[in-house]
Every structure is written in structure tokens, then in C-alpha cells.
Amino acid sequence: MYTQALNGIPDEATDQSSEAARFQARVDAEQKIEPNDWMPDAYRRTLVRQISQHAHSEIVGMLPEGNWITRAPSLKRKVALLAKVQDEAGHGLYLYAAAETLDVSREELIGQLLAGKAKYSSIFNYPTLTWADIGAIGWLVDGAAIMNQIPLCRCSYGPYARAMIRICKEESFHQRQGYEIMLTLARGTPEQKAMAQDALNRWWWPCLMMFGPPDSESQHSDQSTRWKIKRFSNDDLRQKFIDATVPQAHYLGLTIPDKELAYDDASGHWKIGPIDWAEFKRVLAGGGPCNRERMRARRKAHEDGAWVREAALAYAQKRRARREAMQIAAE
């Protein structure tokens, strides 16, 4: 789904060599850095961490929505949700492939996730309690993801930027199908409207946290900005999302769960009340409602699929051996 600003960048990031200067000049000139080009170690490590966290988020992000595929209220909703979840699998694959161009293996990256050493977006540690949550996720979670991902299409690292272009093309459908679900519920019976409101109440604040800690606390974005991996600060992106989303909620006739929310005429922005950053830290550290459940599901899927991977490899091996034997016999 999306990458969160969680990345600490090591101190040796400022490399003074002439290669480093040439590298920075290329980045400054908006040239793309490609896999075989020289790059500072810290740039490589930052990208591996960010792209793999992003890939893990796409994969783990299938779980909360997958929860409702068999219970979608109509065939139309079911095929749409299936297609969306399948897209997220694709997003994960594009991103793992982009990370692999930086000399890490897929097995290594997945191993880090399953060992609990890698992070993924905190948003996927919340449960999907009702059908309205599927609407709220598409509208808000994918909406927040789009805000964050569009600038990444211009990221200095070529394979990441290209993966993001593909992903962004596919995200728009995700958000629109979610909003349509919310609209249908909001125009339905009072119970359905209440369900939509309840979903908004539970997802609003966690979605605002998706943009990462406030600028006052994220010390590391400077280097990412210089490397043109990051183009906007966490707070700027969050504000863009709020400004885009508040009128959409009003159109639904729903109330944003924030008593302090107010339009500021002077700046032209919607101002929100304080975000509970203690909750954000708790969920990131593993204390969210579903962290254990998500990891258990991923590990089980990996273990249950092991025999398929082994069988496919053994079959490919057998056919290769047979082909080679036939070639030798023919010679």
C-alpha cells in the first residue's frame, strides 16, 4: 500500500569523495540513478529499507481486506474487492523486484519480515470489523497512500520511480471503489449510515498517522530530501490529505471525529486537533490490535506455501536434467 516515514539514515551519509559529488550532481540535475550506477552505501541502504518496508506494507495490507472477500454484500462488490487485493499483491511484487536491484535477495527481505525485524505501515494493524471498513480503507487508506506515492514517482532511484508509476495508475480505482461503498452506506438506512460513521471514526486518526511522525520529530528527512527520495515533508503530505478528504466526508454527510477540526481562512487549510503519537509508537512497536495476528497469518502463508515452491523447483530441475540427457544422447 504504502511506505511510512520510519527510516533512520545512518550518520556516514555525508560522503565527501569525488564519486559522491558526481552522484549528488546527477541527483540535483534530476537524472535517474540506475542499479549499476555508483551510489553511496547509505543511499543504497536507505532505499532497501524504504522499498522493502513499502513492499511488506502492500503484502500485509492484503490481510485486513482479504477478511471480507467471502462476505462482500454483492457479487459486484466481491469482484471489485478481489481485484483490489490482487492489485496489492502486484504492488508488493513490483516493489520487492525494485528492492532486489539493490543487491538484496527476495528471500532475505521476506525473511526479515517474517522474523519481525522489518517494519510495515502501522495502519494494517487495525482490524476490519464491518463491511464499512472496506469502504473506509479504500477511501482513506488508499487515499493517504496516493498522496504519499505520487511524489515517489519522481524519486531519484529509477526502478523505484518506475514501480511507483505503475502502482499509482492502479490506486485510483482502489480509492474510488472505497468511496462508492461509503456513499452507498451513507445514503442507505440509518443503521448503514451509522456503520459508515463508525468506520470513519475508527480509521480517521490511524490514517493521519500513516504520514509518519511530525516534522519537528523526524530528524532524518533532510538527507532523503537531498537525495530526492523524499519530496515533501510528513506534515505537508498529511495536510494535503486532510484538505482533500474533509470535503469528501462532508459530501457523505459524515462527521470527522475531531472536535477541534476547523477551516482556517487565513491559510486556506483545515486545522486538526492533536494526533495521539503515543498510540502510533505503540502500534509500530508491536502493540496494535492486530500486530500478532498479521505476523501469524504471514508466517502461516509462507510455511503453507513452502511445498509448492519446492515442488516447482524440483519439477523444473527434473525437466532440465531430462533435456540435457536427451541432448547428450543426440550428439
Binding site: N36, E100, R106, E107
Partner: protein, 95 residues
């Protein structure tokens, strides 16, 4: 087993407009057949193309970025290879 991990493949797709196959990404698969099937699922979910090539990544030979100058620089100075280098009077019309 000599291979413990699923090998990497590069995927090329011909768009419906009939242009040349274009690189669109990579994926892991045990063999060519599975690579083709996975490429269809991962890269053509919205009618992106009507033909797929998959090539083992290990079979690709690439130019070295370090040689970029000597390989590509010579072309930059050869402006006479471009139509705009030649003057044709306006009266002749479009050519």
C-alpha cells in the same frame, strides 16, 4: 538441488498498439512456463498487452555504466545525422 531459490526473469510486453515488446519488470519463477503465467497475472491485469516475453535475467548482457562516455558520446557530436542539420528553402514546402 542446485537451485534453492526461484530464479529471476525479466518480463517484456507488446502493447496492443502493436509496438515492440517493452521491458516492464521482473519476477521470480521456477521455470519458463510458470514465469509466463506469473507475468500474465502480475503485468497484464488491465489489458496492457497481447504478447509476453520472459527472459532469464542471467541471460541478459548489459553495457557497463562506466563505459557510458565512450559508447554514447560520439553520437552527440554527429549533428549531421539529424534532418534539422540541412537547410531546405521554405518555398520547397514540407519535406
Amino acid at each position: 538441488m542446485s537451485e534453492k531459490h526461484l530464479p529471476l526473469w525479466e518480463v517484456f510486453i507488446r502493447s496492443r498498439s502493436g509496438l515492440a515488446h517493452k521491458h516492464c519488470g521482473s519476477l521470480h519463477a521456477a521455470d519458463a512456463e510458470m514465469a509466463l503465467q506469473a507475468a500474465r497475472d502480475v503485468y497484464t491485469r488491465r489489458g496492457e498487452g497481447n504478447s509476453i516475453w520472459v527472459v532469464p535475467s542471467s541471460a541478459i548482457v548489459a553495457s557497463d555504466p562506466a563505459d557510458k562516455d565512450e559508447l554514447f558520446e560520439p553520437a552527440l557530436s554527429k549533428i549531421y545525422r539529424h534532418p534539422t542539420f540541412y537547410d531546405v528553402p521554405d518555398e520547397v514546402g514540407h519535406m
